[in-house]
Point group: C2
Chain length 340, copies 2
């Protein structure tokens, strides 16, 4: 069992820097496309044998040091009672977006063993087949709330912010319910065998620092505090973290994920010594010639030496257009350049 | 003539903090909608009398301290030789995106007096009718390049980054040509009567700090240096500036525009005393109850006292859904709270 990833999460000494890639099980891999060609996206998420298969692919093909459960953050929202569809063109679509109290009251805090059993089953299958740690995950409360309130992806998140600003009590009610759901979902993933969990705050970066402090990080903090007793590292990733790094510390997570639009050295200075960090290569850097890619990997590795621990990753999900050779070259570069 | 805005740009003493709003001539105003209902967007940009009319509307309705030319950053790209259309659904569409040398070579550096005469005519009309300063503008070279290379808006800017990374000489050739075009365009706007110019780098915030230093800011720096001789303030706005503020200083602009995802006090600390700043209220804060809005305005005003000069603005363009009353309340709040 390769536990380098878990050691780095806890800030323990490692022989080399572990690496995995956000969305490493995904469309850039022909092997993934082959599985996906037979089923729609949501069916893939809900079929444990298939979800396990695509989770394992990047571990075998790239040689990464951790696997991340193949799933989608919105299956939890579906389990809370909203109808979810994925449209090829428009992305995720949730019917009856939550814009008033009665819709919010109708939402349930799911029982993962019943309502998300396919996720837990996927985890159980994977633990029998993996020789690297398995990361479970959930969307962060704010990010899930944006989808639930907007009903789909958004650019300006007007409906979310209108609710935050005009109906703060309703927003808090919704966020509390989501937070309870996130906690029970992640606890169930850990019980089923997840050896670390990542909380994805894909959209918290659209908040001003003040709004992040008021409306997003307190809920993450509560979730992290509840998960601390479970004994596995918690990773917290905010896409667009540069302006709120000081506030992100309040999450209390073990590992802070850093996107690519900030210098990782500066980010570590702001975070201080209490956290391990994860990141932060620009996903498009995988289009670079290998030699230039290695320079950038080396730069990040050397800056990240200042942190308590470092897990190498991209600063956001790997893009579908990425050449597999680029992803392989990255993993190779991280392992070679970080070995003594 | 109210020259409070120009004084604040230059860091001179002012009686109150001037305010204008990015996209203040826009869809949130019924008076704009009335004009726009008769013509398509591009025709509105190209009809000086109409463009002047909508430019004046927010000055009269909101009482802002500066007007900004009504136009679009992509008319310059059209003048360089690309075919431009605006689709209600898909936004701007440029045919034959620039992906190789021969397409890049076909582009011209336009002569604004010939190719963009409608913009200059709009400026001349406005100078006869305004009692506040008129701001001209252009897209920044990197931002214009993204549209020219992608052919439309983008999320991940894969084609742009592929060119940057795989064909740096071609990218530099294209950027040089765009920069020449931006310089001659802004000089012509100033000659026609623009009393300040803003360079919009809407997409430079998708670059890693290293790539921003390599591929974006050097071109802005050259443009600003050339414009310095024209004797009007240059404002430089990067949307998503939090991670690159130190590098933005290299632009040499007089005023740095700050988006809402960073604390303006922290931004000023990083920028230092050489710049005035512009910003940075979250555009969605205009949905707040007036009393809460005033608190946020007061907070920004007090933090911005640390800067050489401050022009109040939103941290990004005003949203179409914004209540006009919110915009009026903002202008009132800035003027009242900043007056001794």
């Amino acid at each position: 069992m390769n536990d380098t990833f878990l050691k780095a999460c806890r800030g323990e000494k490692v022989d080399y820097t572990p690496v995995w890639l956000m969305r490493q099980a995904g469309r850039y891999l022909p092997e993934y496309q082959a599985v996906r060609s037979g089923v729609d996206f949501l069916t893939l998420c809900k079929t444990p044998e298939l979800a396990a298969t695509v989770t394992l692919q990047p571990v075998d093909i790239l040689g990464v040091d951790a696997a991340i459960l193949f799933s989608d953050i919105l299956v939890l929202v579906e389990a809370m009672g909203m109808r979810l569809e994925f449209s090829e063109k428009k992305g995720p679509q949730l019917s009856e977006p939550i814009r008033n109290r009665s819709l919010a009251e109708r939402l349930a805090v799911p029982d993962p063993e019943d309502d998300l059993s396919y996720v837990l089953e996927t985890i159980r299958i994977l633990r029998g087949r993996l020789n690297v740690p398995l990361i479970g995950f959930s969307g962060a409360p704010f990010t899930l709330a944006t989808y639930m309130i907007e009903g789909e992806g958004s650019k300006s998140f007007v409906n979310t912010k209108k609710m935050m600003f005009s109906s703060p009590a309703l927003f808090a009610y919704l966020m509390d319910k989501i937070t309870d759901s996130v906690i029970s979902y992640l606890k169930a993933q850990i019980m089923a065998g997840a050896q670390a969990v990542q909380i994805f705050d894909s959209w918290a970066g659209v908040l001003s620092p003040e709004d992040y402090r008021l409306f997003a990080v307190p809920y993450v903090k509560r979730a992290v505090a509840e998960l601390k007793n479970e004994g596995v590292p918690v990773i917290y990733f905010v896409n667009g973290c540069a302006g709120i790094l000081k506030d992100i510390r309040k999450s209390g997570a073990d590992v802070i994920g850093i996107d690519w639009r900030v210098d990782i050295g500066e980010a570590i200075k702001k975070l201080g010594k209490k956290f391990s960090v994860q990141g932060n290569l620009d996903p498009t850097a995988l289009f670079l010639p290998e030699e230039k890619l290695r320079e950038r990997v080396g730069d990040i590795l050397s800056k990240a030496e200042a942190a308590r621990g470092h897990i190498f990753n991209l600063g956001h999900g790997i893009l579908p257009e990425t050449p597999v050779e680029g992803a392989k070259a990255l993993v190779r570069a991280v392992h070679e350049l970080s070995s003594p």
